[in-house]
Symmetry: C2
Subunit: 179 residues, 2 copies
């Protein structure tokens, strides 16, 4: 991550990453399929963690409560002591079109997995898809704010505040007239 | 589009597309940069149309009303007489990972352009980003439903109904306790 920040993702070789980490190049490839995996290797475990939170949530919660609780818990467990890493990862990804695409694919995959998990709980359509999409929108906006902030809020707090703000934003429409 | 549906995007050459359309290959490349452009060439004009609707919306509308009105108007003008085309385009894209990525990039670009347009109207953050993300989530879910339906609803009607459903979904959270 240091190297990506210093000279950009494109200009960093696996040999350099391995050297900086004190590994042989062979050993690097035992842990990572390629140099993108350093940035995206956590996506699989992250998705499993999130989906398990949805599967295990109390039946009394609404779909949106389930999603926001799962995202806030993930924020606490996965991200709260890693703001500096997250900030630098964001900057590396923002600077490279291929990485931005990979990040979009990861978020779309998380959204689909959350919608699947809600449907397993018996949530119908379009509520399951909308709650999953809305939740990921909240998480994305919250993550950007949290990495930009120097303040003391945890990511979980920013996630919950952003969910409140989404609710306020969507509640300002006049009802659609029924035909 | 016929050829993509018949034999898949990967297995269709520009020469075949040009022949089917009664064009020389040279002429094809005067209209499209490559064969993906047949599917995504409308993205630029679509974005301009959407952003202009946001720029021209009455000042009295809330950010979410502006976005939903812009999406519903786009639905009416761009899509309502093209359901069969939209359905086949969806199927071609769903079958090809590269095209799915391109579609995600297009949606992310539209979302960013809508958030920019809201900020130009004086909408603050995170409301601008959340309204743009929520709007695109609504449009995406509505578009999938509309292309899957055989019924008589227009895309604009499905967009407005999905916006109502998003509002209902996000309104079911208990308020976050303040510290």
């Amino acid at each position: 991550m240091d190297l990506y920040s210093e000279r950009g993702f494109e200009n960093t070789t696996v040999a350099e990453i391995a050297q900086r980490a004190g590994l042989a190049e062979r050993t690097f490839f035992r842990y990572f399929a390629d140099k993108r995996e350093v940035l995206f290797g956590g996506a699989g475990p992250l998705q499993e963690f999130l989906v398990r939170r949805v599967d295990d949530a109390p039946a009394s919660l609404s779909p949106m409560e389930v999603i926001v609780a799962a995202l806030a818990e993930t924020a606490t467990v996965v991200f709260d002591d890693r703001r500096e890493f997250a900030r630098r990862r964001q900057a590396v990804i923002a600077a490279n079109a291929e990485l931005r695409e990979r990040e979009l694919i990861k978020l779309a995959s998380l959204t689909a997995a959350l919608a699947d998990a809600l449907r397993r709980r018996g949530v119908g359509e379009p509520a399951a898809s909308l709650a999953a999409e809305a939740g990921m929108a909240v998480f994305k906006v919250a993550f950007e704010r949290w990495t930009a902030e120097r303040g003391g809020r945890t990511l979980a707090e920013v996630v919950r505040a952003s969910a409140d703000e989404l609710e306020a934003v969507t509640a300002t429409r006049r009802p659609t007239p029924r035909r």
